[in-house]
Symmetry: C2
Subunit: 198 residues, 2 copies
């Protein structure tokens, strides 16, 4: 199924059709596609070209790894993300490699990389569901994440599945109309809260 | 000019051709395109669908606004970004609207939105250069940004220009080969630093 945006102004199809479902098909993500997803992330821009991102990944082809990564999600997310054949934990380098000073944009730049990955996934017919609900301390413990790196998100990736595989509450979320605030509420000119006239 | 990625694995053309030049053509960005850029950002995913982003924008059609926004960039960035017909300051809502608790993913989600905007811009024939080098306190002062919102980046947008318009140092940067770390240095499985075998 699809659940495209109700956009007010035209946007590219890869952006219009992207969404974050919770139903996944059992079909594995082909290794070549996994590499393309990570390559898309790799070529994101970043502050000082620092590339302050790392990705812990697990596929169902390695069930023990998949189960281990799943443990890093909060319980609610585990309940549906376990169906996703490809799981990722994104990790941000919170200080600069060159001088160990704090990188204020580390999380931001992980976001840039993940949106790129998501666009590539959409182009490949895949769906991506990013999760804030993870257990960063568990990630650090299970994966020996260095002190100046922090887990940011969990990510479930796969081919779109049938919403009928979800429980009632999740299926209702899946089929709900997607919503966003209007542009006038967050695009300002001249002063905070002042609408733009173009 | 173009300066496409030297990618190791195939990625979508919109990702492959995206880059962050400093030379801009004088041509204005059409208002309809500005709306589409912001619409692309609007439909990004975010933690709890919080949409923790705001955009301060200025075009050269309003020279006083353009100059005011330019003042929020560090001097080096002002030197070239002044040529861009469209400037944006991105702002993150660092606490949740629903309960005022800190939003750990606010900067990350601004990154998701900005990558969407950048993809839309690329599809429209525009180029986008994001800058960490801004003066967040100056933004707060000049635009009356609320306490629980923080300026994140500056963004210069326009049609691609001629690198000959840049000074020698900037032109050299513009024409340099673009580089990224190899996937093996940031994609891990099972444990930190352990290469993936797919």
């Amino acid at each position: 199924m699809q659940n495209p945006t109700k956009n007010d102004f035209p946007i590219h199809d890869l952006l219009r059709t992207r969404w974050s479902p919770r139903a996944f098909d059992a079909k594995a993500v082909e290794p070549a596609k996994v590499k393309s997803l990570l390559e898309a992330a790799r070529w994101a821009p970043s502050s000082y070209n620092e590339q302050p991102w790392a990705f812990l990944i697990a596929t169902k082809a390695q069930p023990a790894e998949h189960a281990k990564l799943l443990e890093c999600l909060i319980e609610f997310n585990q309940s549906w993300a376990k169906a996703a054949p490809l799981l990722i934990i994104t990790v941000a380098h919170t200080s600069f490699a060159m001088n160990a000073k704090p990188n204020r944009h580390a999380f931001h730049d992980v976001g840039l990389a993940m949106a790129n990955l998501t666009i590539q996934a959409t182009a490949e017919g895949l769906v991506v569901h990013q999760m804030a609900g993870i257990l960063p301390d568990k990630v650090r413990e299970l994966y020996a994440v260095p002190a100046d790196w922090d887990a940011v998100t969990g990510v479930a990736i796969g081919y779109p599945g049938d919403p009928a595989t979800l429980n009632d509450a999740l299926r209702e979320k899946e089929l709900a109309e997607r919503t966003r605030k209007p542009q006038a509420s967050f695009v300002f000119s001249g002063s905070w809260g002042k609408a733009v006239s173009l």
